[in-house]
Symmetry: C2
Subunit: 986 residues, 2 copies
């Protein structure tokens, strides 16, 4: 051992080291932002800029550039392992008690094979909404199974592919009743035995729609001619099961409709609402294998009769056929989406809960009808046993029939609940004297014993659940179900893990997702959803918390919410955030309702005009309509910008009634409009508020901000800019940020105290409640929190810059092949851009959908089609795509343009060509009869990379018109299939 410093004996130079070189080298930003410095340099050359900052300066109007952003605590950005350590610490602050709180949320076992192969699998969770049916048959089959589960269990004819949660599904049901009465029947009745959050969400929704809600005892209802419908809960929130058959008849006699909120597990044993007269049936599929997640995400469901199909909100999956006549699935009635219906919409649902609907469907597939019934009978038996035990402990107990929820008169409900909490048990305080205990799939005999101990004053009674059970007679009385369900093959074939795994993989392998290639959907921001962002969401401490647990059991969530809200405030330059809205559209609605409440708080009751540019996303006018606003449309000028002159004119014209402007920034045309600050000023000058649609936030973060630009409120699609994966059509989150003056009006919740975060000063005056859960889909908030915390301010800002660089690079590469539709002042685009393919219609008979389908042959998902401008494709690359990937995509687009040129040049046929016949599935290109006027290899292998790794579409082009003419939206039983000549693909 020597005492001195090491002596270098020649070769290797001795160098001092910097402290920075000793800090963790596994930074996250370079893993997320895929463009290397060398690549950026090349790309800038193509764009004609020296540096990225030059490009940004030329692109983002200097008037709205922000100063340095600081996201707070983790401003420098955490490494992945540092983040995982932090969130582990927070998660550990949550306390996972046994929760028997019910109210629509139940413990459930997510089968491990489903957890790992759907929820934790990027092959499933990075899919987009199945707009391109030919590369989405897997999830379409899953969603069809979901619709089938809902139809069969509710006894209804048709169901959609999910809504956001049970409460909003009920509100949609109410809206549909109102719409069916063509707005002529203002009253809507709600049973006081509905879950409290369902009632509040409906009341809020009613206030915007101008519906008069009356909450009361259903037994006393009278249906006058002014009643559009009524809502009941079955089983009721207190657990009772009773018949609404007479009520349904009464309603129908008066021309009113009956909406029933229900529980799928209960329906495996109970007579389904469809059999006793329900018109609409709603609920949550959460307990079918989806963790409670402190409130969500879960799939809400909505079922009705076929005759009302065209009024049904949400997406519908249906069976059609492909161009070769083979059965194929696709989204039916796509024209119903808001972007078409706009201000005539009664619903603004867009992103829903596809991933969770798929999980619920697969839970049903895995258990099958017998398995589900066994689970339900067990829960029911445990509940009956608990009731018997409670009685023997000396309590008055609710009579049978009940399904899973037992109501006990304990005299001092709060005291018993407190005693329960000491035993790490949560029970619901229903009234001063009553508690309810809702059991579930995870409850064991030992759990019932622990409950009986609590009911026995904290000491074990002289009996156990096992000793009581043999004497217990559970019954559902006259309500027992007699009709079968889920007899289709798929629910009776995959009950071992091997079979299930292979079925899941078979579906997954039919679907193109981000694991294969970029998904350049404009306005959708399909960026990397990093694994480290996703990992915590299946941790017990985050996944298995009931949303209504006492605050001291959710301190980890609280810390994370506060941090995240503060980060979002920093990013948006706002003062407070509501984490409640669980989709972008829900955020729009919440934001407009906050504006409305703000005006009212100032006595401004007349302000109900909402200016909306013609280029707005369809959810904008739909949300405005739902908030009771009148829509005035502002046209675009020929640069695609808002016509400021017209805007000023209309603002002044409506100045006494002006409530708000809704504006997307950068615009939905992919341009940083120069006059946006001026626009905001005009609105403010005329008494209005500025609602910013934050869908394009990925072009703002760190460069500008809604609060800097002049907006008063903005929603953030966390499933776009902030890395929540799209899940094939949801989940999402749409929190809203607001300026201080709007903060008091942010949504509250009837069960859990909440409002804006940071909590605003002064008195709160919330407009109501927009989601069933206080913090929306809490479970996925850590994803965005991870992204922001790991990127840090610098990484986030870099991301925005690279998103813009990537888009401009692509626009430059493509511009000599396709016209770019709109550009900013200096000829640049924002983070996305449109190519105009209308000229090709004229010259070659080629439409945007033909290009979209041909792109599939090249292994790519199409850009956004026909929106916001018909005849265009809108391309958004995001910062997560590398130059190599952008180049592949551009090469494909350019090659397709060449293929189109052959038509123009008369070398290829106008009808029978590579585009019109696309996509080309394997069974077509290898068919023994090949009759197309081009070689097979040209069809299937138009580029090198598909020879190396081909993603095969599973059908040829799907016929939308055929399917819409003849809706089949659940899996036929074997008999039905024979009759329909449709054999389920499974």
């Amino acid at each position: 051992f020597g005492g001195g410093p090491g002596v270098a004996s020649g070769i290797a130079p001795m160098r001092f080291i910097s402290v920075d070189a000793l800090r963790p080298s596994d930074r996250f930003a370079p893993r997320h932002n895929s463009v290397s410095e060398a690549d950026a340099a090349e790309m800038l050359k193509v764009c004609g800029y020296k540096t990225v900052d030059d490009l940004i300066s030329a692109t983002v109007p200097s008037a709205i550039r922000r100063g340095v952003m600081n996201i707070g605590r983790y401003d420098a950005g955490l490494t992945e392992s540092e983040y995982l350590e932090k969130i582990r610490g927070m998660a550990n602050k949550n306390k996972v008690f046994k929760s028997y709180l019910g109210m629509g949320y139940y413990n459930t076992h997510i089968p491990p094979v489903i957890q790992r192969n759907i929820l934790e699998n990027p092959g499933w969770y990075t899919q987009y909404t199945p707009y391109q049916a030919e590369i989405a048959q897997g999830r379409l089959e899953g969603l069809l199974a979901f619709q089938t589960v809902v139809c069969d269990l509710t006894g209804m004819e048709i169901a959609n592919a999910s809504l956001l949660d049970e409460a909003t599904a009920a509100a949609e049901g109410m809206g549909m009743c109102s719409a069916m009465s063509r707005g002529k029947k203002p009253r809507f009745l709600i049973s006081d035995k509905c879950h409290p959050q369902t009632i509040t969400v409906c009341q809020t929704r009613a206030s915007g729609l101008g519906i008069k809600v009356e909450v009361g005892d259903a037994a006393t209802w009278k249906f006058g001619p002014d009643v559009s419908g009524a809502l009941v809960q079955y089983p009721a929130t207190d657990g009772t099961v009773s018949s609404y058959k007479a009520l349904a008849s009464q309603a129908h006699a008066a021309g009113a409709k009956l909406v029933v909120a229900t529980d799928l597990l209960a329906l495996t044993l109970l007579e389904p609402p469809g059999e006793w007269g329900a018109d609409v049936v709603v609920g949550s599929a959460q307990r079918f294998g989806v963790p409670m997640g402190y409130g969500g995400p879960h799939a809400g469901f909505f079922a009705c009769h076929t005759q009302n199909l065209r009024m049904m909100p949400g997406r519908l999956i249906g069976v059609s056929k492909d161009s070769h006549g083979r059965p194929a699935l696709r989204m039916a009635l796509q024209t119903r989406e808001q972007h078409i219906r706009r201000d005539k919409a009664t619903s603004n649902i867009c992103t829903a809960q596809a991933l969770l609907a798929n999980i619920a469907a697969m839970y049903a597939v895995y258990h099958g009808p017998e398995g589900l019934k066994t689970i339900a009978n067990r829960v029911h038996g445990l509940a009956a046993t608990l009731a018997e035990g409670a009685k023997q402990c000396g309590h008055k107990v609710q009579k049978q029939p009940f399904f899973d929820t037992v109501c006990v008169d304990v005299k001092d409900a709060k005291k018993v609940a407190a005693l329960a909490a000491d035993h790490q048990i949560n029970v619901r305080v229903l009234s001063p004297s009553e508690i309810t205990i809702a059991l579930d799939e995870t409850t064991t005999l030992e759990d019932v014993d622990a409950l009986l101990c609590v009911l026995n004053g904290g000491v074990s009674p002289p009996f156990t659940s096992a000793s009581l059970a043999p004497k217990v007679q559970p019954t559902l009385g006259p309500h027992a179900r007699t009709t079968p369900y889920l007899e289709q093959h798929v629910f009776n074939a995959h009950h071992s893990e091997h079979e299930m795994l292979r079925y899941l993989k078979k579906l997954e392998n039919r679907d193109l997702s981000l694991v294969h290639s970029m998904i350049p959907l404009g306005s959708c921001t399909m960026k990397l959803n990093a694994t480290s962002e996703m990992m915590p969401i299946t941790w017990n401490e985050l996944a298995n918390l009931h949303p209504f647990v006492p605050a001291n059991q959710a301190e980890g969530y609280k810390e994370m919410f506060e941090d995240l809200a503060q980060q979002l405030c920093a990013i948006t330059a706002f003062d407070s955030v509501s984490l409640q809205p669980n989709a972008g559209a829900s955020g729009e609605y919440a934001g407009l309702m906050a504006i409305r409440q703000y005006h009212r708080s100032r006595g401004d009751h007349a302000r109900d005009v909402c200016l909306i540019p013609a280029s707005a996303h369809g959810t904008n006018p739909a949300s405005a309509a739902m908030a009771g606003m009148k829509i005035v449309t502002i046209r675009s000028d020929d640069q695609g910008n808002v016509d400021i002159a017209q805007l000023r004119e209309k603002a002044i014209a409506h100045k006494d009634k002006l409530a708000a402007l809704m504006i997307t920034y950068p615009s939905t045309h992919g341009v940083y409009e120069e006059g946006v600050d001026e626009i905001c000023k005009i609105i403010h000058d005329n008494g209005g508020q500025v609602y910013m649609d934050g869908a394009n936030m990925n072009a703002q973060v760190g460069l500008t901000a809604p609060g800097v630009i002049g907006a008063d409120v903005c929603h953030l699609n966390l499933h776009k800019t902030f890395c929540i994966p799209h899940g094939g059509g949801g989940p999402g989150m749409g929190p809203i940020g607001v300026k201080a003056h709007l903060a008091p009006f942010l949504p509250s919740h009837p069960v859990v105290n909440t409002g804006g975060l940071p909590v605003p000063d002064g008195k709160l005056d919330p407009f109501g409640t927009v989601s069933a859960a206080p913090f929306g889909s809490s479970l996925i908030l850590p994803i965005s929190y991870a992204y922001i915390s790991m990127m840090g301010s610098k990484g986030l800002t870099e991301a925005s810059k690279l998103a813009i660089l990537n888009a401009n690079y692509m626009a430059c590469r493509l511009s000599s092949h396709y016209p770019i539709l709109f550009k900013g002042k200096n000829g640049t685009c924002a983070h996305e851009f449109m190519i105009d393919v209308r000229p090709l219609k004229a010259s070659a008979g080629i439409e945007e959908s033909d290009i979209a389908k041909r792109l599939i042959d090249y292994g790519f998902h199409s850009p956004t089609m026909s929106w916001p401008v018909a005849g265009t494709l809108m391309i958004e690359p995001t910062e997560s795509e590398s130059k190599a990937e952008l180049d592949r995509f551009c090469t494909a687009m350019i090659a397709i343009r060449g293929e189109i040129q052959e038509i123009i040049d008369g070398k290829a046929d106008k009808e029978n060509n590579l585009m019109k016949n696309a996509p080309h599935p394997a069974h077509v290109v290898l068919s023994d009869s090949w009759n197309y006027p081009y070689p097979r290899e040209r069809a299937a292998y138009p580029a090198d990379w598909v020879r190396n790794a081909k993603f095969w579409p599973s059908t040829s082009r799907v016929d939308n018109v055929h399917g819409d003419r003849h809706i089949i939206a659940r899996i036929p039983t074997l008999e039905e299939a024979r009759a329909e000549a449709y054999a389920a693909a499974a």
Copy 2:
């Protein structure tokens, strides 16, 4: 509220419930055992039996049937959630301190994208060894990358696709040196600066091979003509880096070889051994992203010069071409596998560490050469900073150069280690006065500060690592590396998560695994690896424990080991188990060594004859040879059974020298031989011990047991019967169970006290050490523990019965199409059976490999080919496959028989037919030029199910001969590729 029981008002009958109906309904066994009762009834009909038990009675000899099995604690079987709760409790008893113990094990960050998409992804972990190259190009590419990483970093010409661990790799190196000297040079030198477990494993191995090991100071070595080679560690176990160049010259001058054990991360900065004369370079790739896992599994590596290629142990991946001349990968030199080399083998390695090798390779791909260098420089810088701090705390510190391990003279090493432990830090006690501290990728400046606090007597010194760093000059002196590495495209292209994810998915999608269809490989038991079994292995408390932590930090593991050992004792009817061997072959070797030690303990030094039936797996004779035994082969009679007369004759002839019999039961021919009890008796009567090869344990569990049959020792391939997934060629575990008289001789470990579990009474006399880690690949033991605990005795027994039923059902279905080669007394088979395809060679020119390749077109992996009998296919379905899947496979086999009939009938050509041209990849069947004499669709879609979901091979038939003639076993650099006219597929 009513007080009485619920009054049923008619319809639903009231029924009492049983307590059983209230117990958890989500039992595991029916998820694992895929055959339903209804299916079993149908299958029995085909087999001609009334009940499963009738079939079993007719199949398993009554003489060896066991009584009721009781696996103990969880005899009734846990549900998946119950198990996860139990193992969570055990995991929480482990304490995850910061461990700086080094000795070949280091903390590492497994990149989340790799963790989730390889280690936690059944698409990767359920693959088999890539015997069918056309459906294994993904993992073959990964393993080629692994070989490339090893070659580039070590500076050697050729490397294999992993060995079991560093210590056994060193022992293989020693064995190779000995073999190269043709056994003529008995001495082998080992530096005392090697890791202690490496030394012990080599000493043990040497004792069997008859090599004389001398451990000492390398500086004093003299190489006589009797020295075959020498082993040094670089950097040494105490951290020092010194030159062995002179040593290498000395060795070479004396005709000896130099084996170097090294560290891949260090080699990113250090002059590689290949540049200064090493002949063999070995080590562990653990710190390339593979969790320590309390000892394993990790990929050991082995590199040498091309000229010694044919002596290199283990599997080698090489580049060849397919039948269309396109580059394609496959296992090179497959004929080297033990089953060919048998008793001439010097190594018995079979199952290796493919999955971990792939992880290590992908870690290198994700970081790239620059990323690896950055990590290494950081670790080196921190180590230098620590050394400087230690010095400033007043200690004598090892001089530079060192890489990551700092040796400090602290005077009282134990005291300092104890103080460290109080700070939740583990340091290594190297000598009474010295400790070493090995830093790693996860170490932070804060960690160094905590270490300095310990070195400063438990109080923070007046400086921090950050304050010291700028004054520190890390250097590697003359040892610094000057040559580049990992310049190939694949290591410089996937550095963002998106790119990485897509690369991983691209590879995954080329490989057929259990997620697609059954893999009916006889002798391999490819059964379900349930998700719940897999989940715990990535938990921090299990994954991140250093194998040499003090016992009180590993109490969770201890509890699990004890439970598992007791379960395995119950299953095998043995008295004690060693969990050390980390593959089946390692278990064989350990078992034979225990027998050897037993004989010696009784003064029986002459007993060295091992009887081995001709039908034995090649690892059997190889293991016997390694244990210093002489092999006497016993022939099979024409029923395929051991010729008992000959066995008796040889046993008597060798009676004074008889050491052991090795026997597989049921036999490798898939038959429960009737005389096995008699066989055991003959051996015992002649002074021998019975070694049972437990590869076919899946046909025994609950029905019979090695201990019941009369065996003395048996290994259990946990990666077969007990659900550890095969990982594309490992990991595995091969614990051995023994009767009480052998228990004292079970392997020990030089660092951690271990032996048989339960601990045998009396004095222990272990024969030595067989694995680097005391409990082998500890991290994967929970998989088997989960399986056994969730199945319970009944479920396990049922599994054996259904495995037998499945095999017999298939044999019956296939028997009218293919002759079944061997059967038991009553015409039944065990859990597997062989079909004889030799007649088809004569009649149609079709060989087993043609059928194997044609099966790929049907979406199936081939059964085991040509083993144990040439010209056969051996089919093992396992209990996890459903009747539907068995039927699909049978349908495929029968259809292929029909295709062959066309050749026999002269309707198809003998050379140009569906089988000879198989498999048919997409690019072939859709080729613009199709010249085969059958339709494309017939080639690609020979069955319904492939139309529904086709698994495409990625190459046409791979040419093994071409590749073996011209070995390319690392990824060429761009220049090399051009020269070789081979472009890497990536």
